[in-house]
């Protein structure tokens, strides 16, 4: 029999329901796994077995929910009441939220068991998980390489079977890019599909929480639980939540799939291009109607993002001033001096860079040239998708132009780091949903991801395509040797 930790949430859910698996035994198996592996992988910012056992006890006392007994890890930018929540930043040292994020409440209402907080790039600023104040998380497929970011800890833990599933957040690819680099499933839902209440804000017009799982069915199960309108988030949208598992039909006959020519360009790794083209052939064989589409403003997405996201971040991060919560520098002459010292000692280099860039783009004399210009190009990017989706139901692309790179390789060149999100950023700009699913391996044995995008609130189309692809391939079943 397979080890409990290696199973998916839907497999475990069935076994727990018929009494074949005791959730306490499952939790033990997960914490044993964390104990033996996390010294190497370093996916966790916090893992607390005693508290996880208490949470399981509380889950057992209620009506047994849809995720009863399933261990879940959450990214360290999602607030959990009374648990250290740091965004992997020194500036939030000691902060313990006074409330649960809506997604935490929803998961616990359905019996899921929170096992800890996942490492991440500081404030989700990064594509490699290297900017964390806890040090980098490692890719379970090659410990010398980065897991991707910013949800690197959540993703590495799922890939290493250190949790059954996880939550991440995605502002420009922070769920999908690491999912691609670690060979797991990662979904960024439509902007407004999942409440952001209790997600520490990075860029409020782009951020979205989503599931990171071992397979497509698990992503649908978790989205069923966390999606929905929340009066605590004015940008959550009151659209009914369908049962996403109904889209898992293993049938894509007649599904119209668009392939954007602008995504197959210089800089795309050959192995990745080949794997994605083979994936497109799988869809053709299964009866989908594949055609070329055009997203002409793709090449401007990274530039647009690196104005809008830092601009919003510089405003959101103004709240970290050493007054209300977190770290405060010692020995200040006056209030301004306290702000300067606290923020300079509390933020890492990349956070400082984003704050500087954002403040610059918003400052008097530059606002029109940078920020307003970027908002207008954002309109063009969104219109590209509106137009493309007139002719197709889904768009498929590579998730990342390269496989996992070596730790340290891009740290001195922020621009090269930023370009790793070239294929994932457009979905955030347009607010549409997108998933990454495993679709192959490079010659070096590193995972490759396929990105599938759909119209706003049409996660169903994504699940339909992703599930059919997964059921007709076996990439999601391979595990790293650890």
């Amino acid at each position: 029999m397979k080890e409990l930790y290696s199973l998916s949430a839907h497999e475990l859910q069935k076994m727990i329901a018929v009494g074949e698996v005791d959730p306490a035994t499952l939790l033990d198996a997960i914490f044993d796994r964390i104990g033996s592996l996390d010294k190497k992988v370093r996916a966790f910012a916090l893992a607390d077995k005693t508290k996880a056992n208490d949470r399981l006890k509380r889950a057992s006392e209620k009506k047994l929910g849809r995720l009863y007994g399933i261990p879940i890890l959450v990214k360290d930018n999602i607030c959990v009441k009374d648990e250290a929540t740091t965004c992997a930043s020194k500036i939030l040292a000691g902060f313990r939220p006074t409330y649960d994020a809506t997604v935490i409440r929803k998961l616990e209402d359905e019996g899921a068991v929170l096992i800890g907080k996942a490492n991440m790039d500081e404030f989700a600023f990064g594509s490699s998980c290297e900017t964390s104040c806890y040090g980098p998380t490692r890719n379970p497929w090659d410990l010398e390489r980065i897991p991707g970011g910013s949800s690197g800890g959540s993703v590495a833990a799922v890939a290493a079977d250190e949790t059954i599933a996880a939550l991440g957040s995605d502002t420009g690819g922070s769920i999908r890019q690491p999912a691609s680099l670690c060979g797991v499933v990662g979904l960024k839902p439509t902007y407004g599909r999942v409440s952001r209440y209790g997600l520490i804000a990075f860029a409020s017009s782009l951020d979205q929480i989503g599931p990171i799982t071992k397979d497509v069915r698990d992503a649908a199960l978790i989205l069923n639980v966390i999606a929905g309108y929340d009066e605590m988030d004015s940008t959550s949208v009151d659209v009914p939540v369908p049962d996403y598992t109904k889209s898992l039909t293993n049938d894509v006959k007649g599904l119209r799939i668009g392939v954007p020519k602008e995504y197959f360009i210089k800089g795309l790794d050959k192995d990745i291009e080949n794997s994605v083209k083979k994936a497109i052939d799988v869809f053709k064989k299964l009866g989908a109607k594949v055609s070329e589409v055009s997203l002409p403003h793709t090449e401007y997405a990274v530039s647009t993002y690196y104005i809008i996201a830092p601009a919003e971040a510089s405003s959101n991060l103004a709240r970290f001033d050493g007054v209300g919560y977190g770290f405060r520098a010692k020995e200040s002459a006056d209030l301004i001096d306290m702000y300067l010292k606290t923020r300079s000692e509390g933020f890492g280099d990349e956070a400082k860079r984003r704050i500087l860039l954002g403040t610059y783009c918003l400052s008097s004399g530059y606002y029109d040239a940078y920020y307003l210009k970027a908002l207008k190009v954002r309109t063009k990017i969104k219109e590209d998708f509106d137009k493309a989706f007139k002719d197709c139901d889904c768009i498929v692309t590579p998730t990342s132009p390269t496989a996992a790179f070596k730790i340290g390789e891009r740290m001195d060149d922020p621009l090269s780091m930023y370009l790793s999100d070239v294929y994932t950023i457009p979905a955030n700009m347009a607010g549409i949903p997108a998933i990454s699913v495993p679709c192959g391996f490079t010659a070096n044995g590193l995972p490759i991801g396929l990105q599938i995008l759909a119209k706003a609130f049409d996660e169903g189309a994504i699940f339909r395509a992703a599930y059919a692809f997964e059921q007709n391939t076996d990439f999601h079943l391979r595990k790293p040797k650890l």
Partner: protein, 99 residues
């Protein structure tokens, strides 16, 4: 759009309430210059007739809740995470001059 010199970076840093060491200033100026030069690509697009998109939910208007009385965070909870507290207040270094 132009490159960014260290004097400008120092000014923006002050606006952002960050103080940078000379080494940081040099590195940030260099890296920001390369990022801004990449970003200037946006000038290739004519956006004269384009309206800006500040968030994806184009149909969203102002959102108001009902003005009902509900429990809110207690004073103790609100102050629980403060690095320094005095009574029911956040304690901060002196703001105005004099005793």
């Amino acid at each position: 759009m132009e490159s960014i010199d260290s004097k400008t970076v120092r000014h923006v840093a002050l606006l952002s309430r960050l103080s940078l060491s000379d080494k940081e200033l040099e590195a940030q100026s260099r890296q920001l210059t390369s990022i801004l030069s990449y970003i200037s690509k946006l000038n290739e697009i004519n956006t004269d007739a384009v309206s800006p998109t500040s968030h994806p939910l184009t149909s969203l208007k102002n959102v108001f809740r009902k003005d009902d009385l509900k429990p809110s965070l207690s004073t103790d909870d609100a102050l629980k995470n403060a690095p320094a507290r005095e009574g029911d207040f956040f304690r901060v270094p002196q703001v105005i001059e004099g005793k």
